[in-house]
């Protein structure tokens, strides 16, 4: 079985550390990923705002390319991309008229998509397909920390694409448990961090970020792990601005779950691009 990888623009750009740590930690688990050739932007929330129909086609092109290269499963680490890819995939699989409409457009550029690809988020893949027990066996350095898993919105909602309840998801906590950490239970696991409006309405978005950080801190978390580059950039990159704006002591290190996983598998910090995190200096393991 060949596993595809759809990195997405953010992982190529500012949040490259997610891609690096994902590939490295998956290699350590013995999973190899094959990037979809010539993939394009999924459209995020911006393109559907401009033209919903066009945004479907952007996604469908990626899915068609994956199908052409014989990839059955596409791992989509970015939650934003996962949301778009999985939703359009769901629609194509369940709505014949929609499928035909999309394929009529795709015909113009010489492509066709029959719905044979499965889109999976790496968290979903590790827990449901790969197996928690297998991860447990490979752990070399258990992480003995209280870890808050932040899921964000787009990995668990809407209902069509989510693999578990969006009100209190558990999958990432299961991974944290497997690598020796203690999951922290807090109320803001899936509350929005405001990523899609951080540019247009940053004042409002900063308030959302503050609420999440505060809730983690109040519940005794020592680390936050994320599974989305947009959440990560909000919680990590914007943290200093948030602290300054609200003048509260809510500083807390933010890691990708793949970075924490990699550390527990015995990889070194450099390989996992841990030093690229802006909250790197705070991390004490």
């Amino acid at each position: 079985m060949k596993l595809g990888l759809y990195p997405g623009c953010s992982l190529e750009g500012l949040e490259n550390s997610y891609l690096v740590s994902l590939v490295k930690s998956f290699e350590a688990l013995g999973i190899n990923l094959e990037e979809i050739k010539d993939w394009n932007c999924c459209g995020a929330t911006a393109i559907p705002s401009i033209n919903v129909e066009f945004s479907y086609l952007l996604v469908a092109r990626n899915l068609a390319l994956a199908e052409n290269s014989g990839l059955n499963i596409v791992i989509t680490p970015c939650s934003e991309c996962y949301n778009r890819l999985a939703y359009v995939n769901y629609k194509i699989k369940n709505d014949e008229a929609f499928k035909n409409r999309i394929n009529n457009y795709l015909k113009e550029i010489g492509l066709r998509y029959d719905g044979n690809v499965e889109v999976k988020h790496p968290v979903d893949f590790l827990v449901k397909s790969f197996g928690i027990d297998k991860i447990k066996q490979k752990v070399k350095k258990p992480i003995n920390k209280r870890v808050a898993s932040y899921y964000g919105c787009l990995f668990v909602r809407p209902r069509e694409i989510s693999i578990e309840s969006a009100e209190n998801p558990r999958t990432m906590d299961q991974i944290v448990e497997a690598i020796g950490g203690k999951p922290v239970n807090y109320g803001f696991k899936t509350k929005c961090c405001g990523a899609s409006i951080i540019i247009t309405r940053s004042d409002a978005a900063l308030k959302l970020i503050r609420n999440i950080l505060k809730s983690c801190k109040d519940n005794g978390a020592e680390l936050i792990v994320t599974s989305c580059p947009l959440c990560h950039s909000n919680l990590d990159m914007q943290q200093e601005i948030v602290v300054k704006t609200f003048n509260e002591d809510i500083k807390i290190p933010v890691l990708y779950f793949t970075q924490l996983l990699g550390l527990s598998l015995g990889l070194n910090e450099k390989d996992l691009a841990l030093d690229k995190n802006l909250t790197y200096e705070m991390i004490k393991l």
Partner: protein
């Protein structure tokens, strides 16, 4: 003719009494230790004010007087009614137009014919079981229960044998076993009733997670024990918020309106206000459906100062000393954050779990939620098994469900008149 009534709730009992009054032999099969169904745990009902139930009294011919009298005092003394409690239907087989039913009776560990309800066993029992709603021993009796005999909760019983020593009539047998009976009957009445949906799956409302989020039925049980003020889980309650239409009117769960939740929410709000006028009560609703004469309850609640918020709450957050409810007041167009001590969910009412098996055995079709559609000539559906009803409607439906089993009195003269009417119709509307 012998008739079996499946379910010993309000509806089943009403139907049984009707049939017994007409001289039929009736068998009641009830899965709980005592008759009464849902009504057993709700000590006040909404059709009448001051809160009491008058409807049952009306329907009870022989024993008049107090409320609930009709199954409390009357039913087990009626000769042609046979009551099987703790019993379930295992199988039904049709044979030459009659039914052979197999009944499993779970052990009560107390002999129904010997127990004289002297309370000695309860006094010596060392095991006390206490939850939010009641406090009882391992050997217990329901105050209004029929049959009026004790029952042992074998799961919590320590088998110390103290009750055996004090029992004067040797009624207790800790090695009691399951028994299987067979009965041949001619007709069947299904009165399996409803139950309250436990909304564990609506995680944003924290039911099952927070001990201060309860359902209306649970509140009713708590209310039946409160004399002064409301105390839940050791917390003095000063502010209560009720959420209407939880899981009902929801296309992902139950599309229908549960019909009576508005009314018992209003009833509870009024009861709370009468218990302690200082309690702040909020009702978050979408539409208050106090149809017909029940409008009285709505206006009464408003007059007593119950605060109505039109909006369905988004989520509930649990804090150390209170719960925070996020709700849009759609009339004020404002998102409100309300701090309360207790949240009460008016959860959907759904068909009783055990009814599905009965419907399957009898080949009765149901809708997607499990409410029975129609009944045949020899099977009749009574009460809330076919749709949610309030007490008066349940009583009426139970009475009407028995009608088709009664022998019609058609004289020759009536027959002749009918034929004439039909002929007249043909003559008038010949096309």
């Amino acid at each position: 003719m012998k008739i079996v009534v499946i379910g010993g709730g309000l509806s089943g009992l009403q139907a049984s009494i009707e049939l017994a009054d007409h001289g039929y032999d009736v068998i009641i099969v009830e899965k709980e230790p005592y008759l009464g169904g849902n009504a057993l745990y709700l000590h006040k009902y909404f059709p009448s004010y001051p809160l009491d139930c008058s409807y049952c009294i009306q329907s009870c011919r022989d024993s008049t007087g107090i409320r609930k009298c009709f199954y409390r005092s009357g039913i087990h003394s009626i000769e042609n009614i046979k009551i099987y409690t703790l019993s379930e239907i295992k199988d039904i087989k049709e044979e030459n137009g009659r039914f052979k039913i197999e009944i499993i009776k779970r052990p009560r560990y107390v002999d129904e014919n010997r127990c004289v309800n002297c309370k000695r066993c309860e006094d010596v029992c060392p095991v006390t079981i206490q939850d939010n709603y009641s406090k009882r021993k391992a050997i217990y009796i329901n105050d209004q229960g029929i049959p009026p005999v004790y029952t042992i909760d074998i799961k919590s019983c320590k088998k110390c044998g103290k009750c055996l020593e004090v029992c004067q009539t040797n009624a207790i047998n800790l090695d009691d076993n399951e028994k299987i009976f067979e009965e041949i009957v001619d007709r069947i009445i299904v009165a399996t009733g409803f139950e309250e949906y436990k909304p564990y799956d609506i995680i944003e409302y924290k039911y099952g997670k927070s001990s201060f989020v309860i359902t209306q039925f649970e509140l009713a049980k708590i209310l039946s024990q409160q004399k002064k003020g409301l105390i839940v889980n050791g917390r003095k309650i000063n502010r209560v918020l009720m959420i209407q239409c939880v899981a009902s009117r929801d296309v992902r769960r139950f599309k229908y309106c549960s019909k009576i939740c508005c009314l018992y929410a209003l009833k509870h709000a009024i009861m709370l206000k009468e218990l302690d006028n200082e309690i702040d009560i909020y009702i978050a609703f979408m539409d208050i459906r106090s149809y017909g004469l029940y409008e009285f309850w709505y206006s009464k609640a408003r007059e007593l100062g119950v605060k109505f918020i039109r909006g369905r709450p988004g989520s509930i957050e649990e804090h150390e000393k209170h719960l925070k409810v996020y709700v849009e007041n759609t009339l004020e167009q404002k998102l409100q954050e309300i701090d309360v001590d207790l949240v009460v969910l008016s959860s959907a009412l759904v068909p009783n779990k055990s009814s599905l098996k009965i419907f399957k055995l009898l080949g009765i079709e149901t809708d997607e939620y499990g409410f029975a559609y129609e009944d045949s000539k020899i099977v009749s559906i009574s009460g809330t098994a076919s749709q949610i009803r309030d007490v008066p409607e349940t009583i009426k439906s139970s009475i009407s469900s028995t009608l088709k089993f009664l022998d019609p009195i058609i004289t020759e003269e009536i027959k002749k008149r009918r034929e004439e009417a039909v002929m007249m119709m043909y003559k008038t509307f010949t096309c």
